[in-house]
Every structure is written in C-alpha cells, then in structure tokens.
C-alpha cells in the first residue's frame, strides 16, 4: 500500500506530523520518499526514505525510529524537485495512488438516461463508412483515366538505308515522334531504333526459318516481316529494364549491343550473350522502299518479361 497524503505519521514514541508530499523514483516509478511536516516536532518539513517506513494503513504511516531520530533526518529542499505536471515521464502518473481520495465531477443529467452507447458509436462509424464507401470506386476510376490507350499502328519514316555501310553492324536511327497527350499541345519526342542489314546467317538466327507476324491484341493481322528481307529494326528499349542500349566493341565478345544500365549484352541477332536480360531484343515491323527509305511501326514492349507484351 502506498502512503496517502494527509495520513498521520507516527514514530515509535509518538506523532510527528502528516504526509505532505511524496517523491517518486523516475526510473522504478515507485515512491522513494515521503515528506513529513506539520506536527509539533516537525516545524521543518523532513524527507523520509521509504526504507524508514515500517507500516502503512489507510490513515497512519508508522516510522521505525524515535522522534529524535526523525528530527535528525535531512530537511526537505523544495527546489531540488519538480512536480509531475512539469515533467514528462512516461507512465509515471499511472503509478501514483497517493491522492487522498477520488476527485469527482457530476455526470450530466441528460447522459444518465442514455443506454445504447455502443449502438450510437457503431452507428456513427456506419455513417462514416456510408460517406466514404460510395466514393472509393469513382475516385479510383478518376485516377485511372489515362492508364490504358489504344495502340498506334501508323508507319513512321525513320531514315534511309544508305546510312548503313556494313552488314551485321547496328546503326542507330534517331527520329521524332509526335505525341498528343490528353489536353497538352502536340509534342515531338526523340526516339531511336537500331537497324541492322543482316547477313543470311544472322537472319536465320532471328527468324528461325519463319516469317515474323505482328498482331494486335484482338488477333488482327498488322504486318509480317518477311524472313528474307535483310533489314531488321530493334526497338531502342532494352528488354531488361527499359534503358537505351548501344552498339559497342566488347573485349571478348566483339561487336555487340550493350546496355549501360545493367550490362545486358546481345549479339547482332538480338540474342542475349550475357547479363540479366530475360529475352532477346525486340524486332519491329519494318518496310524498306526501293529508294531505301525505312519506315517502321513504333512499338514498345514491356521490359523484364520473358514474353513480349506490347505497351505502346
């Protein structure tokens, strides 16, 4: 039991005063001292360690020593302490039970007759839910507006094949593509593809003896790259994580496509020679006119997947 404020304090030879304050230990959260004052023998408030306390009842605190020993205890120095209101020690106040009794305020008249408190609380939550829930779907749809758009299968002129001087060597063709995004004015963005004039050996690796068909998501035929046309256009986007790859000379692998991001390496046929890429480079639909003009359908595929998934 904790000593209560205003309890009478008795020594072996009589009363010395009453409990004026208690001092808490900030670490153990226990009462460490009581401050005794008010009695005839205690004109000065004295600080008594709990070790000196023999017994505590509701109204009386009994100390071990005599009143002479009590007066020999050090005087209480108020300026060495702060009140619990002036300091923040977690959970301290929960441990103090020294108030002389309960402190009460009246429960309002109107509240006394209200029985279904839980019902009202749940009802309030239900109303909140009814406001929020119907909004969830419209908000989601609102945010999803531009996420999916149809593919553009128009042919785009990217340059002339006279730029390619050597077989099986990647040549970068830069081109501008017009885009119109929602409310924005039409913009031109820079893109690039790598075009290769392939020898029959490389063509064989790419086509495996079959023409390459391009179909839209509904399965409708868009274009077929014939296996005997030597021109190949690779999408400029690395199938690993979408960076732009380059045509470079590698110490041991010779002339290769190299992505500077995560170091995927592909040969002229687009086959992965080294690095983390999950699939070969992506050939695009390509048309070369008699005058050498190269046109492509500008497609983009999702990076990082084994299968080609068209996204643009």
């Amino acid at each position: 039991m904790q000593p209560k404020l205003k309890s009478t304090v008795r020594c072996t030879d009589g009363e010395v005063g009453e409990v004026r304050r208690v001092i808490m230990d900030p670490l153990s959260h226990e009462i460490s001292h009581i401050v005794v004052g008010g009695g005839t023998a205690a004109l000065v408030e004295r600080q008594v360690p709990m070790g000196q306390v023999q017994g505590v009842t509701d109204e009386v605190v009994t100390l071990r020593g005599t009143s002479a020993e009590f007066t020999a205890l050090p005087a209480f120095k108020r300026d060495e302490y702060v009140t619990t209101h002036e300091v923040e020690i977690a959970h301290l106040e929960e441990r103090i039970h020294v108030t002389p009794g309960e402190v009460l305020v009246p429960f309002p008249e109107l509240e006394r007759s209200v029985k279904r408190r839980t019902f009202f609380a749940n009802f309030t939550h239900a109303i909140g839910f009814l406001i929020g829930f119907p909004l969830a779907f419209p908000v989601l749809r609102y945010l999803m507006k531009p996420m999916y758009s149809p593919f553009d299968n128009d042919w785009l002129k990217i340059g002339n094949s006279s730029k390619i001087k050597q077989d099986d060597v990647g040549v970068q063709f830069k081109y501008k593509r017009k885009i119109k995004e929602a409310y924005m004015p039409e913009q031109e963005i820079d893109k690039n593809v790598w075009v290769l004039k392939a020898t029959p050996k490389v063509l064989e690796t790419i086509y495996q003896g079959k023409d390459m068909e391009f179909r839209d998501s509904a399965g409708k035929h868009i274009w077929t790259n014939k296996k005997d046309v030597p021109y190949i256009a690779y999408s400029g986007k690395c199938p690993h994580l979408g960076c732009g790859f380059k045509w470079r000379t590698h110490k041991t692998l010779g002339q290769v496509f190299l992505c500077p991001c995560h170091l995927s390496i592909y040969d002229a046929a687009g086959k992965v020679l080294d690095g983390p890429a999950p699939r070969p480079l992506d050939p695009l639909p390509i048309k070369v006119t008699a005058t050498g003009d190269i046109t492509i359908i500008d497609m983009e595929f999702k990076a990082g997947t084994k299968a080609q998934v068209r996204i643009v």
């Binding site: 900030p26 977690a90 991001c261």
Partner: protein
C-alpha cells in the same frame, strides 16, 4: 532623486502581460515544461541527435520546396525550362534548388544513421515496437520523396531513373502492371506521370510524413527514451538529465553541422541539368542516385537474370528485407539490449552495411568499364 516614478519590479511589463494572456488560454508554460523536461536516462548523447536532425532537414526541405514551387511548372513542356529558369535566371535559385537536392541526400544518410542507432541500441524492443514500425513507414516515405522528386526537373537523368524505377515496380506479381500504369498514368512516362509525381511529392507525401512523424514522436514520448544499453540503475539515474539543455544543445550542433554540410555541397556541387527528358537517351548512361547504386549493381548480377531472377532481385529481396525489419521487434523478444551481447544482430548489421558498401563501390568501378 525622485525614485517613486520608477516602476516597481512586481509590476509586469507589457510583454509579460501579453505572454500571460496567451499562457492562460494556451497553457504555454506547462506545454514548454512538458516538452523540455523529459528525462533522458543515462544522460544526453551525440548518438541521439539523428531524430531531431531529421526533423530539421524535413522542415528545410519543406521551406526550400515551397520556394521552388514559386517558379516551377509541372508540365512536360515547361518543367525543364522552368527548372533551368530557377537555376540560371532567378536570384539564388541555383542555391535553393541545390540545397533541396543535397538536403534529400542528407535525409537519406540521416535516416540510415537513425535506424542504425535504434537497431544497435536495441531501442526497437518492447515497449517501443510501434515506434519502430511507424519509423519504417517514415523510411518508406523518405524513399518515396526521393523517387518522385527525382522526376520533377524533367531532364534525362530524371526520365531514365523514373523509367527504370517504374519498370522495377512493374515486376511485382499480379498488381505490378496496374501499379506501374497507375503511377505513370499510361504506358510510358509523360505529362500524366509528371502530374502524378508532382502531386505525390508536394501534397501526398508531406501530409503523410507530417502525420506519421507526429505519431512517431507521440509514441516516443509515450514510451519514453530507451536510454543506454548498459550500466546499473544507479549509474543511469546519476547521469540522467533533461532533454533541455544538454540534449538540445547536442541536437542543435548536429543541425548546424548538417546545415553547413548541405550548404557547402550546394555551393561547390550545385545542380546541373542534363538534356531535356526524351525517350532517346543519347550518350547518357542512366544511373540512379548514389544511395540506390547498390540496388542497381545488385540487378546486374547473373543470379538476378531473367524474368524470375529479376523478380527475386528487384521485388522479393527488398520486400523480404523490409518485412524482416518490420517483424524484428516481434521476432527478437529477448530484452537484452546490449549490442555486444546480441551477436546475430551485430553480425547482420555489419553484413548489410558491408554489402551496401561493396555493391556501391562495384557500381562505381563499373562506370570506367562503360567509358
């Protein structure tokens, strides 16, 4: 001499009257006392400064961020030009933008220091599990700030970091494609992406951070500081002081040091933009910010090749790591806090830090190979 006209010391001055008026209504004195008189078990330490320093960095990021918004325009056709305008035409624009940039780096560094300190001190243990969990959420928000802010200047660096970052997110099973499209507002980065990242960066994340940082502090005050991990109760009690003044003094010194470091970096290494964002990288070799280099290098490993390997390296590994961190206080229920008596914890920390260091250095060495 006539001394009767001199005001007596008992009469309050106008300032005191105003203060008392406010205090009576707000309870300033109690509030101040509660804020400052928090016992720090075992006394103040330099190791405890990181939380306060992070709060300081965040406030400065908010201030510089708001100032940048006076000129910045979040549209695909003007973001780059308006950022160049801030750098080249607005007085001290280069400095504020560079401060904001280096401030974000300082934030990441201090988050690592703060988390390491809490981990090594065993301060995540009962009853402080929730502080740790909210802290992890804050860590995620800081990363989100870095990721979304990086796109805003709309230069090549910005464009490619976002392209690769979102592709990584795309590898999440089931939800990946939706998440990536949702973030980009389409199939490829464009105006919708910029709008989304801008709103997330300047509205969503700051609101989330303020709320969670408030909760973090509330929970911290509720549980009280953990204090040192060794020493007897008497020793700890003898060394205990209040948050004010010794800890606040150390915190302030920490803030000044960080402030000066950020200013110096902003001054000597100001932001320089690359070409305007476009899907053709030109000669640019995309690379993330240095604190993401280890992840970047990790994804180059053969182990993480192919579709499944990529999922393993980009999603599963970081995911498992974060899940382990979140589960930490519930797995590690041993009340022992002394790091020298927690060999698994100490070794794990060293291994994680060493791996980050090794992979970062490897990424830097690889740069030469690409030239």
């Amino acid at each position: 001499m006539d001394t009767t006209t001199q005001p007596t010391t008992t009469q309050p001055s106008v300032i005191e009257k105003v203060f008392d008026f406010v205090d009576e209504r707000v309870g300033l004195k109690t509030l101040q006392a509660k804020m400052l008189n928090e016992p720090v078990p075992g006394g103040s330490r330099w190791a405890y400064v990181f939380g306060s320093v992070l709060l300081f960095i965040f406030i400065m990021q908010a201030v510089t961020g708001i100032l940048l918004m006076f000129y910045y325009v979040p549209t695909a056709d003007h973001a780059y030009a308006s950022t160049q305008y801030i750098i080249h035409s607005v007085d001290y624009g280069w400095f504020l933008l560079s401060y904001h940039f280096w401030g974000s780096t300082a934030m990441v560094v201090c988050v690592f220091a703060h988390m390491s300190q809490v981990f090594l001190w065993g301060a995540y243990k009962k009853p402080r599990e929730l502080i740790w969990l909210v802290g992890l959420a804050l860590f995620g928000i800081v990363m989100g700030f870095g990721f979304t802010g990086y796109l805003l200047p709309w230069d090549q660096r910005a464009y490619w970091a976002t392209t690769v970052g979102v592709e990584i997110m795309d590898k999440t099973p089931v939800l990946g494609d939706f998440m990536a499209r949702f973030l980009k507002g389409g199939a490829t980065p464009g105006q919708m992406t910029l709008s989304r990242f801008f709103v997330i960066h300047v509205m969503v994340l700051p609101a989330a951070l303020m709320g969670l940082a408030g909760l973090h502090l509330f929970l911290f005050r509720k549980a009280g500081p953990a204090g040192p991990f060794r020493g007897s109760v008497e020793e700890i009690k003898a060394k205990t002081d209040y948050f004010f003044p010794r800890q606040i003094w150390k915190d302030i010194v920490g803030m000044v040091a960080v402030f000066l470091a950020i200013c110096s970096l902003a001054f000597w290494e100001p932001i320089v933009l690359l070409e305007e964002a476009t899907p053709d990288p030109g000669d640019y070799h995309p690379e993330p910010e240095w604190y993401f280099l280890f992840l970047f290098q990790l994804l180059r490993l053969k182990v993480f090749a192919g579709e499944f390997g990529q999922f393993l390296g980009a999603i599963a590994l970081p995911g498992i790591f974060m899940a382990l961190l979140a589960a930490l206080p519930f797995i590690d229920r041993d009340p022992e806090r002394n790091i020298f008596k927690r060999p698994i914890a100490l070794i794990s920390w060293i291994v994680v830090m060493a791996s980050i260091l090794i992979f970062t250095v490897a990424a830097i060495i690889n740069r030469e190979f690409l030239e």
